[in-house]
Amino acid sequence: MADDEQDIILSELNDEELTLQMHDDLYDGLKDEIMEGVNILLERGWTPYDILTRTLVEGMGIVGIDFRDGILFVPEVLLAANAMKSGMSILKPLLIETGAPRLGRMVIGTVKGDIHDIGKNLVAMMMEGAGFEVTDLGINNAVENYLEAIERDQPDIVGMSALLTTTMPYMKVIIDTLVEKGIRDDYIVMVGGAPLNEEFGKAIGADAYCRDAAVAVETAKELIARRHNSVGS
């Protein structure tokens, strides 16, 4: 314990201070403190949706910006995301109960042959942190797995990840299958992974290539908004 710093008692902070403190605690990956903070705000009568957006989503937004800017790296972001998840575990059932508005739904997975899922997990966590519902298919997904999940979950977004030169082309196999079935345009397709780039994403027919998890969240929000606009018009 640091000598010149006193412990903060979360329950003694007012709403505004507590919100800021929770942003800091998320940034530092302090799981227990996040759970405590969520519970305090629930007791104070905040709606689950407000807690989600004003503490967790906003806090993860700060983490995302510093990740995008090369200030934070994967280990720190993982810790933050885990803290976020612990808060989310309290809120999730309440959000469903209260019929809170939904941002969108995503099905995500690492493609066939690829075991690397660190980046994909980050995207899934940051998307959840941003308020999306995420179905994570895990690693090594053949096209059938994607089709099944799409059928079942009716997502807005299909996300694919690959880390190897040997597995990248499989993303095209999946997109081509969606095209064959005539359902490609029903979904936003986002791709990512260390060896990819924007041009590659275009060439295989994805809607977007996302450089990292922070960019994935920004892109997802933008594309969903655009889609709603076009559907509405």
Binding site: A2, E5, Q6, D7, I139, N140, T166, M168, L196
Partner: protein, 338 residues
């Protein structure tokens, strides 16, 4: 007895390593998603052709087809019980190819990442990781590898586990990391950080450096930082032949043989001792690299600006080391909870 790589390092000014494994195997018909390591027993002639591609292009060192040959990766293909078999086969074919060449060629047993996160950020324990690397490494040595070659690592924890496995096997080894995120590795390791880390290891590697990453320019920027911190250690530069593009159903890297020749000379002039390619680097690139290294006299250490002019721009503003990193805007902290 001195190992083969140590001997070559002491005799030669530079050594040419090999290029891509995955990209080459694709061109021979490997399907996306399949484990390349299976071909060590199912298609040995093609693996021999892969090795011969490097050998006949003038490589002094080439890596075995065993990048994904650890238990964690092979589990994906339900082949976790075949680690010893697949790694040994990879090295045996390599040994034959090297011995048949009539030149003094180093067979480097490739050990790629487990694909899992290690404690404290992930579930894989140090002991399990050591065990996995040791299992694969022992088989590579049994098959005739001269040196173990740990590559494309992102975290210090995983490199430490691999280093310990090499120490347990009493094997000479080399280690490289992939610097692909704002100049650092995905897990935040800097070029200078890797140099300091490697020098502090009890069973030091014969050489260390960078492989894969973003493109040839970025890799040389990484080398620039590493040379400063390495204080005369043997450095390895194995960069990708440019950036991957999707052309007519295939992955094509946009770096030409001529460009990779220039890259090789710049790497040497920066102070790298072992120079090779990574993804997208085909035999014709290696031929051009060897010729360029032989024909181009050594020049002064290139500046970052010169690297950019010859090879193209960098993917991020800085390499994440030194003052640039220290100056990164620190968030205004509230009181830290302890």
């Amino acid at each position: 007895m001195t190992d083969r790589l140590s001997r070559l390092l002491s005799q030669r000014d530079w050594l040419l390593a090999d290029g891509a494994t995955g990209t080459n195997l694709f061109n021979m018909g490997l399907m996306s998603g399949d484990a390349p390591e299976m071909w060590n027993v199912e298609e040995p002639a093609k693996i021999r052709a892969l090795y011969d591609g490097a050998v006949n292009s003038g490589s002094d060192i080439f890596l075995t087809n065993s990048f994904g040959g650890n238990a964690s990766r092979l589990k994906l293909h339900n082949a976790q019980h075949r680690v010893a078999e697949l790694n040994k086969a990879a090295a045996e074919i390599a040994r034959e190819a090297a011995d048949a060449s009539g030149r003094d060629i180093v067979v480097a047993g490739s050990l790629g990442p487990t694909g899992e996160l290690l404690v404290p950020v992930g579930p894989l324990t140090h002991a399990s990781a050591v065990e996995m690397f040791e299992e694969a490494g022992a088989a590579l040595l049994a098959g005739g590898a001269d040196v173990l070659w740990v590559e494309t690592i992102s975290s210090e924890e995983e490199m430490r586990a691999a280093a310990e496995a090499c120490a347990n096997l009493n094997a000479p080894w080399c280690g490289t990391m992939s610097f692909d995120t704002a100049g650092r590795t995905m897990m935040g390791v800097t070029s200078t950080g890797l140099a300091a880390f490697m020098k502090a290891l009890p069973h030091a590697p014969l050489a260390f450096g960078a492989n894969c990453g973003v493109g040839a320019s970025d890799l040389l920027r990484t080398m620039t930082g590493m040379v400063e911190a390495a204080e005369g250690a043997n450095l390895i530069a194995k960069g990708n032949a440019g950036i991957p593009k999707y052309v007519e159903g295939h992955i094509h890297y946009d770096g030409t043989p001529e460009l990779m020749g220039k890259y090789a000379c710049l790497a040497r002039d920066l102070g790298a001792k072992i120079i090779g390619g990574c993804c997208g680097t085909m035999p014709e690139h290696l031929v051009a690299m060897r010729r360029a290294l032989e024909e181009t006299p050594r020049q002064a250490k290139p500046s970052l600006q010169q690297i950019e002019e010859v090879l193209g721009g960098f993917s991020s503003a800085s390499d994440g080391t030194g003052e640039a990193a220290a100056d990164a805007p620190k968030r205004e902290r509230r009181r830290r909870r302890t």
